[in-house]
Point group: C2
Chain length 334, copies 2
């Protein structure tokens, strides 16, 4: 193995000079720098990660904790992970993969052994048990999603409230006056991730603002449940012409149900969804939707961490603005 002293000897300088040339932490003359770089290339030198970590107390590795829970859309997680890795590499960092399963012990372990410099935690619950730990840890972290009390933590996510609003505004702009939100399963509103409530809040606020008649309907993640909700809506709100869906597995079944009940989409009924673009695009009737911007969230999370690692402070909350993509499922009020 070729080490820094080999490079130093080959370039006729001291090891510290090589180190400074590499890190740029002290000025090195253009001439020596060049010589050192040549030696490095010629000898094929690669600094030993462990030695570096020991001496500098920086491992240049980030931990990424991915969720395993059922009901999580896997491609979104994957997309997110890839964007984290890519962005981290741009900042000369690597990514260590942890699973939720490891829990708090896992976080503490990688932090305390100095295996990683910082942590990214996905799928944060409203009252996540890891929060106290993350606050106490001496390493910076970024959460994907918002807990009930984000004080002292750094969080990033899609602005779900604004997402709800944007959907309503789109429908209002098309002249719809009576709308409904088909939401997540009831239990999601009780515990869990809190974004569901935020969508409701945005939906309701925007509807009120525009003077629309609105209603909210939790829905199990089952085609049969979708069918039931559709029937219920036709029965109870016959004037309905606009629907917002925030429940991925149900987007397609719901549209199917409406059509089977004799409503054309978008002819009689406009449907918008909050879901991954990928899903929205490959439904039979491509759905106008607000995307879950997993790549941006990943990039954002890493950038925030880098800022914190650099000693700067990062905002507690970063809300990514929703982007609505108009597809074929929405049209003017009939």
């Amino acid at each position: 193995m070729v080490k820094i002293t080999d490079v130093a000897r080959h370039a006729g300088v001291s090891p510290s000079t090589v180190s400074y040339a590499l890190s740029g932490k002290r000025p090195i003359s253009e001439e020596t720098r060049q010589r050192i770089e040549d030696s490095i290339r010629e000898l094929g030198y690669r600094p030993h990660a462990g030695a570096r970590a020991l001496a500098s107390s920086r491992s240049n590795v980030l931990a990424l904790v991915v969720p395993l829970r059922a009901g999580i859309h896997v491609p979104v997680v994957m997309q997110f992970a890839v964007s984290v890795v890519t962005t981290a590499r741009r900042h000369d960092h690597d990514v260590l993969l942890l699973t939720q399963e490891e829990g708090e012990d896992g976080l503490r372990r990688v932090a305390d052994t100095a295996l990683v410099d910082a942590l990214i935690v996905m799928d944060v619950q409203l009252h996540d048990r890891r929060l106290p730990l993350l606050r106490a840890l001496d390493r910076p972290s970024v959460l994907i999603g918002f807990p009930a009390e984000p004080d002292g933590l750094t969080c990033i996510d899609l602005d779900f409230q604004a997402a709800g609003e944007v959907c309503v505004e789109h429908l209002a702009g098309l002249g719809h006056r009576v709308i409904a939100l088909v939401g997540s399963p009831p239990e999601v509103y009780v515990r869990e991730t809190g974004f569901a409530q935020r969508v409701v809040r945005g939906f309701t606020a925007a509807a009120d603002r525009h003077g629309l008649s609105s209603s909210v309907h939790p829905c199990e993640a089952e085609p049969a449940a979708a069918r039931q909700v559709a029937e219920q809506l036709l029965r109870e709100r016959p004037a309905l012409t606009g629907v917002v869906v925030h429940n991925e597995p149900v987007v397609e079944p719901l549209i199917d149900a409406f059509e089977q009940l004799g409503l054309r989409v978008p002819g009689d009924l406009s449907v918008t969804a909050i879901c991954p673009d990928e899903l929205a695009a490959r439904v039979r009737v491509p759905v106008t939707s607000v995307a879950i911007p997993s790549a941006e969230v990943g990039t954002g999370a890493v950038e925030l961490l880098m800022k914190k690692l650099g000693g700067a402070s990062a905002p507690e909350a970063t809300l990514l603005p929703p982007r609505l993509t108009v597809r074929e499922s929405t049209g003017r009020r009939p």
Copy 2:
């Protein structure tokens, strides 16, 4: 930060004794071991990963290279990754996530800097450009999938040939005499991962062995293509009663197409697939299938690596036996 000397002092022994107590590389009396463990717990000691790596030249980290290519079934990759992480943890190792994008440089980097002890490479192509590098690297690696020339490498994957055979045998056992394989897009058979050819080989061999009339039909990963293949099959092979599908996105569209053409599944036509269980189970007509055993492959890959890291030798090829799950899409010949 509490370090090994603190523990040593607290327990009244020398640092080396603590180290040996932890690693078990030399005998330590039960009594001192106990005392040391108490001190560790009391002080909350965690060995510094970098220091450990430097001194022992073992980082206890594995690299996992995940593919990004389109046409890869994301949930399978994720499942695989999770099983790798879980298994690695059982062996006291962590997992560093790399993307295909980083390419050969990425592999070289993490290996040469001693960031990782060993590598797992997914989605290996028949003539993968990384093969020479992996052979040359001084660290062990395991490939998921089989290249054209696996000499000197360690590979693991589902036994796709046997998978093809099992499907045919299942159909033959149900009395079917005329069968077809609907395969992957044509280009897959030319370059890429080689498993497609292996399915064909198994399919054909088993069909011949059982005296069945068989044919093979590559198919683009599009619903429209599925429809065309279905029509073509009805036209050219009217006696057809059994189909094997090896093309994930087409499983459902193909069944739909057959039914629209007036064939009942499994009444008139039996269909089996080689695809993730998850997909097979949630199709409208749940499909009898051979699963892609991503979790087993992941576990197996890690176990192989551990064996190699332990100095033992590992078999060049590990072929996981196919498991056929009978669902509702196959029945006796009409």
